[in-house]
């Protein structure tokens, strides 16, 4: 084990860095506010380090920001034409 570096959740290979997560999230929030839920889902998914619609492929050990999951769930609901509900992002 000697010499092995301990890596943070956002340093895992293939996953976005903390800065990238924040960038993707900001872009996603802008799309969400403009009512572009499909684009928002894509960007939130990027922030979570996965492709949109990859729900079945999610690995549970992958770090996930609950706030992004919350926002993406709202985007999914609104994308399904449930537009009169009070689903807001945080």
């Amino acid at each position: 084990m000697k010499g092995m570096a301990v890596i943070g959740p956002h340093e895992m290979p293939g996953l976005p860095s903390q800065t990238e997560v924040m960038d993707f999230n900001t872009v996603a929030n802008d799309f969400f506010n403009d009512g572009k839920y499909k684009e928002a889902v894509v960007e939130y998914s990027r922030a979570l380090g996965m492709n949109a619609g990859d729900v079945e492929l999610i690995v549970d050990f992958a770090p996930a920001d609950p706030l992004i999951l919350w926002n993406r769930s709202a985007a999914y609901v609104l994308l399904g034409h449930y537009r009169t509900t009070s689903f807001r992002r945080y």
């Binding site: 729900v55 609950p66 999951l69 769930s73 449930y82 509900t85």
Partner: protein
């Protein structure tokens, strides 16, 4: 979409300590995704605010509507028709496919074939599957529109 939303919100609820807002959102999506029993158990964990009580009523209504189409003591298709109409007024969003199917089955049971066809027409194209086509075919068949019914059944067969 609702499956994906449900997955995300469930995962979110697991990651965060239980909070009213998260659980209420989770219950809302469970209702829309036609998981009324799960929604009820989520709602039971919340304080009895007017919103929570209204959501509990809605979930209970859907459960009762489904039960009233089953055989036995609960059988009461007229109730199912009314229950879905009430649910539609309360939810103020497009009805989940499963609720439309409850309405279709209830309309059939009450011999309102035209009503059943109208309900089937509410289902968006992307959510039409073999089950929907089967009911559409049956509605045509029972209204003596044999050629149209045959065409629909042929599509299912292919």
């Amino acid at each position: 979409m609702l499956d994906a939303a449900l997955y995300d919100i469930t995962r979110c609820a697991k990651l965060l300590p239980p909070a009213e807002t998260i659980l209420f959102r989770l219950a809302g999506i469970q209702i829309l995704a036609h998981e009324p029993h799960k929604a009820l158990s989520t709602l039971r964990r919340l304080e009895k605010t007017p919103e929570v009580l209204a959501a509990r009523d809605l979930a209970t209504l859907i459960i009762q509507a489904e039960d009233s189409l089953g055989e036995g003591a609960c059988y009461n298709p007229e109730f199912a028709v009314v229950a879905i109409a009430v649910a539609e007024l309360r939810i103020r969003v497009p009805l989940p496919r499963e609720w439309i199917m409850i309405r279709v089955r209830a309309k059939f049971e009450t011999d309102d074939l035209k009503g059943a066809e109208e309900a089937l027409a509410q289902i968006p194209a992307e959510r039409i599957d073999a089950e929907v086509l089967l009911w559409k075919g049956k509605a045509r068949l029972f209204r003596d529109r044999y050629l149209e019914a045959a065409e629909i059944f042929q599509v299912i067969h292919i």
